[in-house]
């Protein structure tokens, strides 16, 4: 039995039938591999997935610091998504709504008689107390069930209070994971926010960063390098992002796509609507950061930008050289497991490789097939009922802001040799008997630890302590264990430092008490005692 079969062995026929297609062994034969992804989790399996609301409010909308994001529902959902995702943000005027949790705290009568009245009153109070320019309403499970028309309330709010107000029907039961929430958030931003600003697309080296949530300050580090090179960062979706900035996202010349899973919808729609090209970049990992910076420079094809790009790369590399060597020497030959999100498990494999760490097992919580297999499979993906229930927004070209950044010849040439409008997925960087698991669960994690014995396992808080108690160092790649940034050159060193720390922290040597291997009771027994005459004592 190979490892894959040993993992699946415990399952009943029904669960086996489901899970077998989510676990794929990768070899070097070059045969294309297919994985089942973005489908319903098996009830009762302890999965790490969250819900649609978590993807919409928690991930995509939560970081917008000048927006009052109002959770319409009972108190829990708003409470759990308050300040818990490390998407750092600063507001120039100090009015940072990310420090707040806003909820309608629905009570039983609201469920019975409908919650629209309370929602309207809550919006009135928000306007009177906080005077925001933009309010976003996020629905939780019961709202959709009782049929509150939150879009109508949003429209009412816009007319009554002259604020921007957008409603997101991101009830937790929609879709099969956070991923549905990302999509719903993308749709709302595209419909109501992007392009609602008045700025004109007349800039030369202007970019948006998409799918960068500024966890641990990653976005700030990427932005720092881009600015050093000479780019203007129009907006970031959505780490340290703001309504003020993303409403003018349409003026950028190029969209840099960090997290393919959560925000490729906006990248594609902005291409259609404004003709803004997008490129899959990755600022996690040293080699990947260099590749990304060079490909973005190649897009703009400007001598100044090209020169500055090489200067910045050289100077950053020089700064980290000593640390890079040190950690590479310490970490080379170590092995890792990595299970997180819908893009990170791929991104971080590149960073691990920078330090000589091999990834033995990897997987995603909520990715789709294209995140594993590459965008070429998109036409083959069958949409199931859960996906079809999420609106597939179609957009039309917007003549006011439609603009051309590069000509077709240059575009085609770049498409050949860069990740312009392409994402290769995770599989192509794996192989050699490694295993990929989609929508991994507690049992499978235990089994993977047992079979592969990685030196470190990157996951989230729900399994962190289980992994650690199994004797494997574990670090959270959602929150970076409250460290970071991990992006770009200096971030890579932070990551290596933290990894080294977790593998080598002295406490690992104290797990087994000395009395397990050495006697604690001293005395004489048996024949020795008899010989000593103690029998008669």
């Amino acid at each position: 039995m190979n490892e894959r079969e040993r993992i699946l062995d415990k399952y009943s026929a029904r669960v086996f039938k489901n899970r077998k297609d989510h676990i794929v062994e990768l070899d070097d034969s070059g045969m294309p591999k297919q994985i089942a992804a973005n489908s319903r989790s098996v009830p009762g399996l302890m999965v790490n997935r969250g819900c649609c609301y978590a993807g919409c409010k928690g991930v995509v909308l939560g970081p917008l610091h000048d927006v009052v994001v109002l959770t319409h529902g009972p108190i829990g959902c708003g409470y759990y998504s308050w300040g818990t995702r490390r998407n750092k943000g600063r507001a120039e005027d100090g009015r940072n709504f990310m420090q707040y949790c806003f909820s309608t705290d629905m009570q039983e009568p609201d469920i019975v008689f409908g919650g629209e009245k309370k929602l309207k009153q809550a919006i009135k109070e928000i306007v009177e107390i906080f005077h925001p320019e933009c309010i976003m309403i996020c629905s939780t499970c019961p709202v959709g069930l009782i049929g509150d028309d939150t879009s109508a309330v949003a429209k009412w709010a816009e007319e009554t209070y002259k604020v921007k107000c957008v409603a997101y029907s991101c009830e937790g039961y929609k879709g099969v994971s956070q991923s549905a929430g990302h999509h719903i958030a993308n749709n709302g931003l595209m419909k109501h926010i992007i392009g609602s600003g008045e700025a004109k697309p007349d800039k030369k080296f202007a970019v948006n960063i998409l799918g960068e949530y500024n966890i641990g300050g990653d976005g700030w580090e990427s932005e720092r390098l881009l600015k050093l090179i000479g780019y203007e960062v129009i907006s970031v979706f959505t780490g340290d992002g703001s309504y003020e900035k993303i409403k003018n996202a349409h003026v950028a010349n190029l969209n840099l796509l960090q997290c393919h899973r959560s925000i490729s919808y906006i990248a594609e729609m902005m291409k259609t609507k404004y003709n803004i090209d997008w490129i899959k970049i990755n600022f996690i990992g040293i080699d990947e950061t260099i590749r990304s910076l060079r490909e973005v420079a190649a897009y703009f094809n400007d001598p100044g930008i090209n020169a500055r790009t090489e200067e910045v790369i050289a100077s950053e590399l020089e700064e980290i050289e000593e640390d890079r060597e040190y950690y590479r020497e310490k970490l080379t030959g170590k092995t890792a497991g990595i299970f997180v999100g819908g893009s990170r498990s791929h991104h971080y494999q590149n960073l691990l490789a920078d330090f000589g760490i091999k990834t033995l097992v990897a997987g995603y919580e909520f990715a789709h097939r294209d995140d594993y297999e590459g965008r070429e499979v998109i036409p083959d993906i069958k949409l199931d009922a859960d996906t079809k229930n999420i609106e597939q927004l179609t957009v039309e070209p917007d003549n006011r802001y439609y603009h051309l950044a590069i000509d077709k010849e240059h575009f085609d040439a770049l498409k050949e040799k860069t990740d312009l409008e392409y994402y290769a997925g995770m599989f192509k960087d794996m192989g050699d008997g490694t295993i990929t698991v989609d929508d991994f669960n507690h049992y499978e994690t235990e089994k993977l630890l047992e079979l592969f014995k990685p030196d470190i396992f990157y996951s989230g808080i729900k399994d962190k302590y289980m992994i650690q108690k199994s004797g494997t160092p574990s670090r959270q790649l959602h929150s970076y264990d409250y460290s970071g940034p991990y992006a770009c050159f200096k971030g890579a060193i932070n990551f290596a430092r933290d990894t080294y720390m977790s593998i080598f922290t002295p406490a690992w040597n104290y797990i087994t008490p000395p009395w397990y291997s050495k006697p604690t009771l001293e005395g004489r027994i048996g024949a020795e005692a008899i010989a000593g005459g103690e029998q008669n004592a």
């Binding site: 009830p43 302890m46 009177e128 499970c141």
Partner: protein, 455 residues
């Protein structure tokens, strides 16, 4: 920090800002983790289960296991019965607990899933295994209510009154940390009491590091102990708001009498607990425990100039806040603001009664409040100290007030869940935390010429 919070307090009828409570299911999950070899199960969307496990793991820095029915839109339309049935089979097949404790969510409550009949109709429960449930609609009460409801769920399914009483006392510890439960048990042991603690998360959510992972550590109330609660002589419901309702459930099902006592935080509340145990077990209070009490009074007297008449805002869960208020009053402090997010008017009455007893005036007590309002009160009339959960750190920073962390949840510190707040020892620890916070502040703010070596 919190720059958008105006000083002027305005009436809010609908908007909750910066809550001081969360929803019922997380409390139910926590209570279920206090039962040996139990798998808590969340009957709703995956997100609920994920959020609750995350919160418990962040507070305890321990694995918090639980499963979910993983509702999709289909389940909302057709009901969650099929999902529950599949889940139960898979949980027993793969994770092999002795008991599954199902709690509902706002989703399954809103569609009206009938858990009683779903559980009766389960055909795939292996011999000797048990499935119980409770209703925990997130749109009523708070996580504290959910904790009590889950206790009631276990009692309704399992507790039985035998013809003969078993000579034991049931101890319901309230929504407290494993460290508190250990301390309550230590005191009960010192009092030579034959007790059943329910639930009991010690040995589960403070399990030691070993050379292997145990999904079900050795702690937790055993199923047979929950059954035996029905034959107890009596129950001590510690934390009246949290534990009186499940004690009532046991009373009506098995006719076991109960005494409602405050959480044993501070001198008098601990005295009450000790006296109740003494009265029940007919044992004298041992010198060792009396000495602990004497030491506590001793350190309060020693250190009192550092905290006497200092004002403090206390916020969190009702029983915890009342307990902390009781301690600070004994220390001579002024609990200027007592606030809980849990809707419970008993809290207000009891809080006011405490203030009256110590003759302290000009304080506010509020249930169903939020931290936004507490912040506004503080902006209008500042306090010297805050005691409460992690979420108060924003206010503490905004207003530059020292914060002592106590209660649930504490997401940003370590070790707290091992250390008791209850008992004389717990009070001594709290006194140290309070005193250090105030004295560190005095050190920090002192001019060079006022900086004291000896204090």
């Amino acid at each position: 920090m919190l720059d958008a919070t105006p000083k002027e307090v305005s009436e809010r009828k609908a908007l909750r800002v910066n809550p001081c409570k969360t929803c019922q299911p997380v409390g139910a999950m926590y209570a279920a983790l206090g039962v040996h070899r139990c798998m808590p199960h969340s009957h709703g969307s995956q997100g609920c289960c994920s959020y609750h496990r995350t919160f418990l793991a962040r507070h305890f820095k321990e694995p918090a296991i639980a499963t979910t029915s993983s509702f999709t839109e289909g389940a909302c339309v057709f009901g969650g019965g099929s999902n529950l049935k599949k889940a139960v089979k898979n949980i027993f097949d793969i994770y092999n607990p002795d008991i599954i404790a199902v709690h509902t969510t706002c989703l399954s409550e809103t569609i009206g899933d009938d858990l009683n009949s779903y559980i009766q109709q389960l055909e795939n429960v292996p011999e000797g295994k048990i499935v119980v449930h409770t209703n925990t609609p997130s749109y009523a009460g708070s996580h504290v209510t959910g904790f009590g409801n889950m206790m009631s769920g276990f009692i309704k399914y399992l507790s039985k009154a035998d013809a003969v009483k078993n000579g034991k006392i049931g101890i319901f510890p309230g929504f407290v940390n494993p460290g508190d439960m250990r301390e309550m048990k230590r005191i009960a042991g010192l009092m030579k009491t034959d007790y059943i603690m329910f639930p009991d998360t010690s040995g589960v959510l403070d399990a030691p590091m070993k050379d292997h992972y145990e999904m079900y550590p050795k702690g937790g109330t055993k199923i047979e102990e929950i059954v035996a609660l029905g034959s107890c002589e009596k129950v001590l419901a510690l934390g009246e708001v949290t534990c009186a309702p499940p004690a009532m459930t046991l009373k009506s099902k098995c006719d076991v009498d109960f005494d409602s006592l405050p959480l044993p935080i501070g001198i008098e509340a601990t005295d009450k607990y000790v006296m109740a145990l003494s009265h029940f077990a007919k044992t004298e209070v041992p010198i060792a425990l009396e000495d602990e009490r004497g030491q506590l009074v001793d350190v309060i007297l020693d250190a009192h100039p550092n905290f006497n008449k200092k004002t403090v805002a206390i916020y969190g869960d009702p029983d915890t806040v009342l307990g902390l208020a009781s301690l600070v009053l004994e220390m001579g402090m002024v609990p200027k603001y007592l606030l809980t997010g849990t809707p419970n008017e008993e809290f207000v009455k009891k809080g006011q009664a405490l203030l009256d007893k110590f003759g302290v005036e000009g304080c506010k007590v509020k249930a169903n409040g939020d931290l936004f309002e507490l912040h506004q009160w503080i902006k209008n009339d500042k306090v010297d100290l805050m005691i409460g959960t992690t979420h108060g750190k924003y206010i503490a920073r905004a207003e530059d007030i020292p914060l002592v962390r106590a209660g649930f949840p504490i997401l940003d510190r370590y070790v707290h869940s091992y250390m008791p707040l209850v008992g004389y020892r717990g009070a001594m620890r709290l006194l140290e935390l309070i005193c250090n916070a105030l004295m560190d502040r005095r050190d920090r703010d002192a001019k060079d010429e006022d900086f004291e070596l000896v204090m």
